[in-house]
C-alpha cells in the first residue's frame, strides 16, 4: 500500500496542513472546510446515488410482488426483476457505483485526519515522511488541537453523542416507512445500529475524527434535503408537500402502463408482504384507480403542508 500512502493520503495530508495554515492554524476548522469541499466536489455522484437509491426504493413493492409471484422459479424471478428495472429506467448499479467511487476518497480523508492529528511521537515522526516540500507545510505542524470546547486529539463524550445523533437524523431521512413487520424491524435495526456503533467508536477515538463524521453527516442531510426534496422520513406525518407535489406531477405525466404500477387510494388494504410506499402513500400492483390515487396524493400533500406550517 505504499502507493496509497504516497499518493492519495499524502495529497490529502498536505492539503489539510496547507489549508490549516490559511485558517488561523485551526485544525478543527480545517477538517470542516475540507470535508465540505470534498463532499461538494462529489455532489454529482452523491446525488446520482441518492436518486438511484430512491428509485430502487420506489420499485420495492413491485419487486416484492414479483418475489411472491415467482418464489419457486428463481430464474424467472431474476428475468422479471431485470425487466422491471429496464422498463423503469433504474439500474441497480446506479446506487453502488457512485458509492464505490466515493469510498476511497472518504478513506483517504479519514486516514489523513488520523495522521495529521499525530497523537503519539511515532505518529508525528511518521507524518514527516508524508510531507511535501511546500514551504508552509513543515513549519505549521504540529497543528493546534484545541477546537471549541474539546481537544481534537482526545475522545469527547459530547462529540461522540453528536456523531450518533447526526448519523441517526441522516439515516432517518432516507429510511423508507414500511408496513411489513419484518422489513420494519430490519430498517429499524439499521437505523439504530449505525449511529450507536459510530457513537460508541467515537467514544474511544480522537474527536477530530468525530468532527469529520459530524460534518459529513450534516452535509449528507443537506444533500438529501435537496435531492429528495424535503426532510424525508424526518418530516412528521410523512412526505413534505414539495415531495408529494413532485409525485403528483410525475403521476399525472405518466400513464399507469408506462409507470408500470397503479397508484391506489390510501384507504386500500395493503397486501401481505407488499411494502407501503414512502411518505404514507400506499401502493399496490394490481387494481385501484389512477384518478383516485391522485386524489389521495393531493389529500396527503395538503396534510404535509399543514404539518409543516
Amino acid at each position: 500500500m505504499e502507493w496509497w500512502n504516497a499518493g492519495p493520503v499524502a495529497l490529502m495530508i498536505n492539503t489539510l496542513v496547507a489549508l490549516s495554515s490559511q485558517l488561523f492554524g485551526s485544525f478543527g476548522l480545517t477538517i470542516i472546510i475540507l470535508t465540505i469541499i470534498i463532499r461538494a466536489c462529489m455532489y454529482p455522484l452523491t446525488a446520482k446515488q441518492l436518486r438511484s437509491s430512491r428509485a430502487m426504493q420506489g420499485l420495492q413493492p413491485r419487486v416484492a410482488e414479483l418475489q411472491k409471484k415467482y418464489a419457486k422459479d428463481k430464474q424467472k424471478l431474476a428475468e422479471e426483476q431485470m425487466k422491471l428495472y429496464k422498463e423503469s429506467g433504474v439500474s441497480p448499479a446506479g446506487c453502488a457505483v457512485p458509492m464505490l467511487i466515493q469510498f476511497p476518497i472518504w478513506i483517504a480523508l479519514y486516514q489523513s485526519i488520523i495522521r495529521v492529528l499525530a497523537v503519539t511521537p511515532e505518529d508525528l515522526l511518521g507524518l514527516s515522511r508524508l510531507l511535501w516540500s511546500w514551504p508552509v507545510v513543515y513549519s505549521v505542524l504540529p497543528l493546534n488541537s484545541q477546537f471549541l470546547w474539546f481537544n481534537l486529539v482526545s475522545p469527547n463524550p459530547g462529540v461522540a453523542v453528536l456523531v450518533g445523533v447526526t448519523m441517526w437524523l441522516s439515516q432517518k431521512m432516507v429510511t423508507p416507512s414500511v408496513s411489513d413487520p419484518q422489513q420494519k424491524a430490519q430498517s429499524q435495526m439499521m437505523l439504530w445500529m449505525m449511529p450507536l456503533l459510530f457513537g460508541f467508536i467515537a467514544m474511544s477515538l480522537p474527536s477530530g475524527l468525530a468532527l469529520y463524521w459530524i460534518t459529513s453527516n450534516i452535509i449528507s442531510m443537506v444533500m438529501q434535503y435537496f435531492v429528495i426534496g424535503g426532510w424525508g422520513s424526518l418530516a412528521r406525518g410523512g412526505a413534505s408537500g414539495r415531495e408529494l407535489r413532485g409525485r403528483i406531477v410525475q403521476a399525472e405525466a405518466a400513464t399507469p402502463e408506462a409507470a408500470g404500477a397503479d397508484i391506489v387510494d390510501s384507504s386500500s388494504t395493503p397486501k401481505e408482504g407488499v411494502d407501503e410506499g414512502e411518505y404514507g402513500v400506499k401502493r399496490q400492483l394490481r387494481g385501484g384507480g389512477h384518478k383516485a390515487s391522485l386524489k389521495s396524493i393531493r389529500r396527503d400533500s395538503g396534510k404535509g403542508k399543514s404539518h409543516r406550517s
Binding site: Y110, I114, P121, Q186, F198
Partner: protein
C-alpha cells in the same frame, strides 16, 4: 415457507450487523499507532540502563550485557497489566536512576536493585511525557504534554516548581549552570532559572522545537520544524545566526559538536555540518540515505550516527566520510536472529569508546555494544530479561 423466509431475512440482517462491527473494528485499527517508545541507553560506572518496550527499566553490565537484576517486579513502570511506553533515556545520578513514562509519571529507581524509590505524581498521572528527564544539582527536570516544564527534588520526588508554555513539550531539556533550556511545540525556546522556574528569556523560531538544545561556549544550538538550525546567545536569547541551508525535513535529534563544527542530523536522511560561529556549511551535507531520528554521539573523533532502517555509521570528522556501516542491526548478531523489521529510533550513547545502540522491532528491544575504533560488536542482547539470563 414463511418461517424459512424470515430466517433468511434475519440472517441477512445479522450478516450486515456483523459487517458493520468488523468495519468499526477496522476503523479503530486504522487509528494511528499505539505508543511503543524508543528509550535510549545511558551508561554510568560500568552499568547501562535502558527503558524496554514492555515498560521496564532494564539494567545490564557494560562488560558483557548481563542483567543487573532478574526480579520481574524490579524496574517496572506502572502496573504489570499494561506496558508503559518509554521515550526518554534514563538519567543517572548517584545511586538513583530516573526515568519518565508516557503514562505521565516520573520514577526514581535504585540502580543496584531496580527497586522503586519514589514516583511523581504519587496519585494520578500527568499528561504523557515523551522525552528524557535531566538531573542536575539535585533536581530532576522534564517537559510534559500538558505544556509545562517541571522541576522535582531528586532525592524525594517532591515538586519544586513548574513553568507553563503554550503547548506540548516533547523536547528534552538541557541544564547549564543555573539555567535550563528547553524547546516547545509553541515554536519557542525557553531559558529558565533552575532555582525558581522563572523565565530568563524566550526565543521564537519559525517552527516547533523537539530537538534538545545543545549548549556550547555561551550559545544554545537547536534545530526547528521550520527546517532551519539556530544559534542563540545563552545569556540574552538573541539570535546569533540562522542556518543558510534549509533541511529537507525536520530537525528532530540533538546535535553534537566537534572542533567548532555542529553535526545536525535531519529527517531527510542527511547530516548537516555547520560552523558553530557563523552557521555556514563547513562541508556538504552527508547523505545517510535514510532518515536519522536517533541522536548521534561523539566517540573520539568520530560522530556515530544511526539511520532508522538500522545502519550505524562512524562519520570521519576530518574528511566527512561516512564509510561503510559499522553495524547493521537487521543482521544476525550472537543470539539475536536476523530481522528486517528491526529499526533504530533511540538516541545513541557512548562510554569509553563503545557505542550503545538500542534497536527495536514492534515487540522486542535489542541492545548492542559496538567498539567504534575496532568496528566490532562486543555483545548484543534482547531486552526481554528471563530467568535464564
Amino acid at each position: 415457507m414463511q418461517i424459512r423466509r424470515n430466517r433468511k431475512r434475519w440472517g441477512k440482517v445479522w450478516l450486515l450487523v456483523a459487517l458493520l462491527i468488523i468495519a468499526g473494528v477496522v476503523l479503530c485499527g486504522c487509528y494511528g499507532s499505539q505508543p511503543k517508545g524508543w528509550s535510549g541507553a545511558t551508561a554510568a560506572d560500568g552499568r547501562l540502563f535502558v527503558g524496554s518496550l514492555d515498560g521496564r527499566l532494564v539494567g545490564v553490565n557494560t562488560s558483557d550485557g548481563s542483567p543487573l537484576w532478574l526480579d520481574k517486579e524490579a524496574g517496572t513502570l506502572g502496573t504489570s497489566e499494561s506496558n508503559v511506553a518509554i521515550y526518554g533515556s534514563p538519567a543517572v545520578e548517584g545511586e538513583l536512576v530516573y526515568l519518565a513514562g508516557y503514562n505521565g509519571k516520573v520514577y526514581a529507581f535504585v540502580s543496584e536493585s531496580g527497586a522503586l524509590r519514589w514516583v511523581y505524581p504519587r496519585e494520578g498521572n500527568l499528561n504523557p511525557i515523551a522525552a528524557s528527564v535531566v538531573v542536575s544539582q539535585g533536581k530532576v527536570y522534564f517537559g510534559c504534554s500538558d505544556g509545562s516544564i517541571y522541576a522535582l527534588d531528586a532525592a524525594t520526588g517532591d515538586k519544586l516548581w513548574s513553568f507553563e508554555t503554550g503547548t506540548k513539550v516533547w523536547s528534552t531539556p538541557t541544564a547549564d549552570g543555573d539555567t535550563l533550556y528547553i524547546g516547545s511545540f509553541d515554536k519557542k525556546l525557553y531559558a529558565l532559572n533552575t532555582g525558581d522556574g522563572s523565565k530568563r528569556w524566550e526565543f521564537e523560531a519559525g517552527g516547533a522545537i523537539v530537538s534538545p538544545p545543545l549548549v556550547y561556549e555561551n550559545a544554545v544550538y537547536f534545530g526547528s520544524f521550520d527546517r532551519y538550525f539556530y544559534a542563540v546567545d545563552a545569556a540574552s536569547g538573541s539570535l546569533r545566526w540562522r542556518s543558510e541551508v534549509m533541511g529537507g525535513k525536520w530537525f528532530w535529534a540533538k546535535p553534537v559538536i566537534y572542533n567548532d563544527a555542529i553535526y545536525a542530523s535531519n529527517l531527510d536522511g542527511k547530516v548537516y555540518i555547520l560552523d558553530a560561529a557563523s552557521g555556514r556549511e563547513v562541508a556538504g551535507a552527508v547523505d545517510l540515505g535514510n532518515p536519522a531520528s536517533s541522536a548521534p554521539v561523539l566517540v573520539g573523533d568520530k560522530v556515530v550516527l544511526a539511520t532508522e532502517e538500522g545502519n550505524v555509521y562512524a562519520l570521519d570528522t576530518a574528511g566527512y566520510q561516512k564509510g561503510l556501516p559499522i553495524i547493521d542491526v537487521r543482521e544476525e548478531s550472537g543470539d539475536i536472529p536476523k530481522s528486517t523489521s528491526r529499526r533504530i529510533y533511540a538516541p545513541l550513547s557512548a562510554d569509553n569508546g563503545v557505542v550503545y545502540i538500542k534497536a527495536q522491532t514492534a515487540s522486542e528491544g535489542v541492545l548492542y555494544a559496538v567498539d567504534v575504533a575496532r568496528q566490532e560488536t562486543l555483545w548484543s542482547r534482547s531486552l526481554v530479561i528471563s530467568e535464564g539470563d
